[in-house]
C-alpha cells in the first residue's frame, strides 16, 4: 500500500501552468494524457519531489482520474514521492560501474553524509541513493544530481568530497 506522507497542500503557480500548456500542445487533440510524464517532471523540478496535492491538480488539468497519475508516479523511479535533500545524489550501482568502484562511492557517501540511502541530512541539503544503469558505463563510477541532472563521471572518493564541499559552499 502506498504510504502517503503528511503533506501541506501546494498550489501550482501560473508560471508552471503556462509550461503545462506548452507541453500539452505537443500531442494530438484528445491524447493529452501523453503529457503526464513531462508534467510530473515539471512538478518535481519546482518542488524537488511530487506532492500528492500536485498530482491531484495534474489529474484535474489533464482531465483524468487522480489514480491514473498515482499509478504512473509510483511506476517510474524518477519521481520522488517524499521530500529529498536539496541535492539528491544518485549513484549508478549497476555492473559496469561496479567493475570500476561504484560500491566504494556509495559506502563513502554514507560515511561522509552520515545518513543511510534514502535519508536526508539534518540540514536538508543532501540525500543519496543507488540507481540502476545511468548509461555512462565507460566513464564510471558516475553520479547525477536532480532536478538539473548534472552529471559527474570517473568519480573517486576525493572528487566526491570536493563535490560535497562545493555544493555546501554554494548553498
Amino acid at each position: 500500500m502506498l504510504k502517503v506522507e503528511e503533506q501541506t497542500p501546494v498550489t501550482l503557480s501560473a508560471e508552471l501552468l503556462a509550461k503545462f500548456d506548452e507541453v500539452k500542445s505537443r500531442y494530438p487533440e484528445g491524447k493529452q494524457k501523453s503529457a503526464l510524464l513531462p508534467l510530473l517532471h515539471l512538478v518535481q523540478a519546482e518542488y524537488l519531489w511530487v506532492p500528492t496535492s500536485a498530482m491531484d491538480q495534474v489529474a484535474a488539468y489533464l482531465n483524468i482520474q487522480p489514480i491514473e497519475v498515482y499509478e504512473v508516479a509510483t511506476f517510474y523511479t524518477m519521481y520522488f514521492l517524499k521530500p529529498q535533500g536539496k541535492y539528491a545524489l544518485e549513484v549508478c550501482r549497476t555492473g559496469p560501474c561496479c567493475l570500476v568502484g561504484a560500491e566504494k562511492i556509495l559506502d563513502h557517501l554514507e560515511n561522509k553524509l552520515g545518513v543511510k540511502e534514502g535519508e536526508v541530512t539534518a540540514d536538508g541539503l543532501f540525500s543519496f541513493r543507488g540507481v540502476e544503469c545511468l548509461a555512462a558505463c565507460g566513464y564510471g563510477p558516475v553520479l547525477q544530481i536532480s532536478p538539473e541532472y548534472t552529471f559527474y563521471e570517473n568519480l573517486t572518493t576525493e572528487s566526491v568530497d570536493k563535490l560535497i564541499e562545493d555544493l555546501k559552499n554554494k548553498s
Binding site: 510524464l37 513531462p38 549497476t94 567493475l99 548509461a135 555512462a136 558505463c137 541532472y149
Partner: protein, 455 residues
C-alpha cells in the same frame, strides 16, 4: 583507420551547432530526400543498405519500414527510441550529446519516408542534459526551416518533439515505450498487432533506435549500395560500440562491422587492452542482456577462427559457445572480477526493472537475485546452482516481452561457462569473501596475457 560515418566529425569544435554541422555537410540528406526522392525510393535505399536495427534486435530497418500500414486519413508516427538503459550501452547518449543534429536530420528524412507529420524522440528521463541539447537543436533546425511547415518549400510539414521518460528500463521495449508515451505505466503490449499496424494512439507507427535513425543520413547521402559495401556479409555498415569495464580506453567507438574482436580489445586504435596489466577473464559483448563469454570464446570461435564484431560471428555456435552483438555494449572483465558477484548485480538490475506484468519475470527475477545473493555471500548449497538453472529456464520465452529472456541469459551463460566458480563459492564460503576465483580454468590464450615488466 576504419571508415567513420556517424562520428566522422565528432572532434570538430561546435559540431553540436547547426552552423558547424551544416559546414560539414549536414542536412544534405534532407535536401536530397525531400527534393529528389519519393518516400518509396527512400525506403528502397534503406533496404538496399542492409541496415539492421541498432538498438539490439538487429531486425532489417528497411523491411520494418515497409511493413507500415498506410490507411487513408489515419496519422502515422515515427518514434525514436532513445530510452538507452541497457547496462553497458551508452552510445546513443554520446551521439545525442555531441552531434544532436545527426539524429534530427535522420528523423526528418525517416519521417518523410514514412509519411509522418508529427514525430517524437522518447529520451530516458535521466538524460535531462541530452533532452535540453536536443530541444535546443530542434529549435535551431526549426528556425532555419528544416522543421515545421512547408520544409524547403516542398509542401512537407513535420513537427518534432522530445518526450522524457520517467526512469524505467522496460520502456526501451517498443510497445512499453508507446504505452509510456501515451502517459501510462510502461507495460509491454501483446504482439500482434505490431506497432506498424497499431502503434502510438492505435495508429501505424515505426519505432527505431537513435543509431538506426542517424545511419539513414549517410545511407541517403551515399546511397544504400555504398553503405552495404561496408561491413561483412549481412552485417553491413558501421556500428557504434560502447566499451566499458576493465579496459585501458573505455568509450564509444565506431567500427566497421567485421572487425576482429581481438583487435577491438587490444589495438591502440580502440580499447588499448586490459587496464592495469591484467588479463582478460570474460566479456559481455552486446549489453548486459546477452550471454557472458569467457575470454577464449570471446576471441576465437569454437573452430579456432578469430571471432569478429558482427551479428553472425558473435552469435556463431548459438548460446553454447556464442553470444550476440545486441546493442553493442561491450563490457570487459579482468582476472580479478567475480562472475558470481557480477551475475548477482545483473539479476538485481532485472528484478528492479521488471514491470511486473508477467509472473515468470516478476517472481523469477527476484528469485534469481535472492539465490545469487545467497551464493555470493557464502550461504549457498550445491542444489542452489541447479535451482538457479531451473528458474532461468522457466522465465526464458514465457513472458510478453524479451525482458524475461534478458534476465535469464546472463544467469544461464554464467552457469554454463563458469559453473566451477559458483561451486567454489559454495565449497569455500569463507575464502570466496576475500579472494577471487581467478581465471586459471578458463583457458585464456597465453599469448594474450600481457607481459608485465619487472621494475
Amino acid at each position: 583507420m576504419s571508415r567513420k560515418l556517424l562520428l566522422e566529425h565528432i572532434n570538430v569544435p561546435g559540431i553540436n551547432t547547426l552552423e558547424v554541422y551544416r559546414q560539414k555537410g549536414g542536412y544534405r540528406a534532407v535536401e536530397k530526400a525531400l527534393k529528389t526522392l519519393t518516400p518509396e525510393e527512400i525506403v528502397e535505399e534503406v533496404k538496399k543498405s542492409g541496415l539492421r536495427g541498432r538498438g539490439g534486435a538487429g531486425f532489417p530497418t528497411g523491411m520494418k519500414w515497409s511493413f507500415l500500414a498506410k490507411p487513408e486519413g489515419v496519422a502515422r508516427y515515427l518514434v525514436c527510441n532513445a530510452d538507452e538503459s541497457e547496462p553497458g550501452t551508452f552510445k546513443d547518449r554520446y551521439l545525442m550529446t555531441y552531434i544532436p543534429h545527426a539524429l534530427i536530420e535522420g528523423m526528418i528524412v525517416s519521417s518523410f519516408a514514412l509519411g509522418a507529420k508529427v514525430s517524437y524522440i522518447y529520451v530516458r528521463g535521466e538524460m535531462m542534459p541530452q533532452i535540453r541539447i536536443l530541444e535546443r537543436a530542434i529549435a535551431e533546425a526549426k528556425a532555419a526551416g528544416w522543421l515545421g511547415k512547408n520544409i524547403l518549400g516542398t509542401g512537407y510539414d513535420l513537427e518534432l518533439y522530445v518526450q522524457p521518460g520517467g526512469g524505467a528500463y522496460i520502456c526501451g521495449e517498443e510497445t512499453a515505450l508507446l504505452e509510456s508515451l501515451e502517459g501510462k505505466r510502461g507495460n509491454p503490449r501483446i504482439k500482434p498487432p505490431f506497432p506498424a499496424i497499431a502503434g502510438l494512439y492505435g495508429c501505424p507507427t515505426v519505432v527505431n533506435n537513435v543509431e538506426s535513425i542517424a545511419a539513414v543520413v549517410p545511407i541517403i547521402n551515399d546511397g544504400g549500395e555504398e553503405y552495404a559495401k561496408i561491413g561483412i556479409g549481412r552485417s553491413t555498415g558501421t556500428k557504434l560500440i560502447s566499451a566499458s569495464g576493465n579496459l585501458v580506453k573505455p568509450g564509444v567507438y565506431e567500427i566497421e562491422l567485421g572487425l576482429p574482436v581481438e583487435e577491438f580489445i587490444y589495438s591502440d586504435e580502440y580499447c588499448g587492452g586490459i587496464a592495469n596489466g591484467k588479463r582478460l577473464k570474460a566479456t559481455v559483448a552486446g549489453g548486459s542482456s546477452v550471454p557472458v563469454l569467457p575470454a577464449n570464446l570471446t576471441l576465437k570461435l569454437a573452430n579456432g577462427e578469430p571471432r569478429l564484431m558482427s551479428y553472425e560471428s558473435l552469435s556463431e555456435g548459438g548460446f553454447a559457445t556464442g553470444t550476440m552483438l545486441g546493442s553493442g555494449g561491450f563490457i570487459a572483465f579482468d582476472e580479478d572480477q567475480c562472475i558470481v558477484r557480477n551475475t548477482w548485480n545483473f539479476s538485481r538490475f532485472y528484478h528492479h526493472e521488471s514491470c511486473g506484468q508477467c509472473s515468470p519475470c516478476r517472481e523469477g527475477t527476484g528469485w534469481m537475485e535472492k539465490i545469487l545473493h545467497k551464493i555470493e555471500h557464502g550461504h549457498g548449497s550445491m542444489e542452489d546452482v541447479d535451482l538457479l538453472w531451473d528458474v532461468q529456464r522457466k522465465i526464458e520465452g514465457n513472458t510478453i516481452c524479451p525482458l524475461g529472456d534478458a534476465a535469464a541469459w546472463p544467469v544461464a551463460s554464467a552457469i554454463r561457462h563458469f559453473r566451477d566458480e559458483f561451486e567454489w563459492h559454495i565449497k569455500e564460503p569463507v575464502k570466496s569473501q576475500t579472494q577471487n576465483y581467478g581465471i586459471a580454468n578458463y583457458a585464456v590464450p597465453i599469448e594474450k596475457a600481457p607481459v608485465v615488466e619487472e621494475k
